[in-house]
Amino acid sequence: MATLSVCQQPIGGFSFEYCKRNAVLEFECNKLGHSIPAARKTGTTICGVVFKDGIVLGADTRATEGMIVADKNCSKIHYISPNIYCCGAGTAADTEMTTQIISSNLELHSLSTGRLPRVATANRMLKQMLFRYQGHIGAALVLGGVDCNGPHLYSIYPHGSTDKLPYVTMGSGSLAAMAVFEDRYEQNMEEEDAKRLVRDAIAAGIFNDLGSGSNIDLCVITKGKVDYLRPHDMANKKGVRRVHELEALPRP
């Protein structure tokens, strides 16, 4: 992949060159009785909260492909910079690639300025890129971090609009998680309370939304320290099969 071109503005917009080819391939595929593979979406519950000293981000770990769970333990909290992390909901590839591109650009930016990057900068870069693609990049993000101006939390929608709030949820399980937040959020919480609140919000999404499941990952960001807790809570442990007496006997 070209290195210098990453930081430059790409010309033109989204390329629709392959749409006709894809339509033909899909038609041929359907004629043979198969369907083309669906994009893997992270159904998802992601959320974030601002507490006294920093940010807590949380996410479930299920990735779905249509009605099947494609990945039981995928990582949805992505690294952007040493002090900024981003949770991603929507199409898994889109969130992965978008956060990686912005992380790379932000590192170059940080080397040029000689300073730790600010969350507002990451937010600006993400929203401008997503707006440029007019919602075709299916990435709904919760961006959080601590910089020289304190802790900041943003929610970023696929069409490029952002909201700066003290607590946010995104994804198919966001209603369940938001219900927990609206009930129990307070300003200036302690770290343990904030972690418990985020854990409960993600658990609400996991148990009440089909698109979310498996474990709970947390990421606690404070000034100078990041705790990446993966997994923080294994809410859905796989049971151990009971061995039947007859099966326990050694085979002849």
């Binding site: 979406k41 600006r124 929203k127 919602g135 490029g160």
Partner: protein, 231 residues
Amino acid sequence: MAACMSANRSENAFSANDLVPEWAQEEVSTGTTIMAVEFDGGVVIGADSRTTTGAYIANRVTDKLTPIHDHIFCCRPGSAADTQAVADAVTYQLGFHSIELDEPPLVQTAANLFKQMCYRYREELMAGIIVAGWDKRKGGQVYTVPMGGMIVRQPVSVGGSGSSYIYGFMDSNYKPGMTKEECLHFCTQALTLAMERDGSSGGVARLAAITEDGVERRVVLGNQLPKFSNV
């Protein structure tokens, strides 16, 4: 800024999925009620605080009154992504222009920058803006730039989905020559009436008074809004 896009802006690359509810796929829209009123010495602007994605309220405390310069604000109804992007672009252009001029920009300039962008990209954008502010030359001014890119200066203007419900109130209750406090009261009442009737407007009422001395912001919380009926 957005380069030329395919005409089907409502189609997305990924298909609908049973597991992802409909409102999660909708574009974020500031349904909205906004208004702006001129008075002698400045302007008063007001907006509700609700942002929706389909039937879900994505942000119930949105600030739709965006500063684009020290004495110039804009109100942003329509698609949240489109209006945020346009407002950011105009803020940059206006700041650059002001530095070149070495003096505060005119409200008319800001309004024309919005108009140029909204008119050029009229097919792609869903953004109707109200630009209001104070400058040395003409004092308090309100310019409306609806979808399509027209520009017109009005002493009082309402916009957004909730505006339909308060045109009558505005026409019957606006009097030229009100003071700042009367304008703030007028705006609060109008926003309350619209938020009561429009499903896409609600939350708190945010107001700002812009004068030569600066900007004074006020928030009227839901339970402090004026009550009109006992029903």
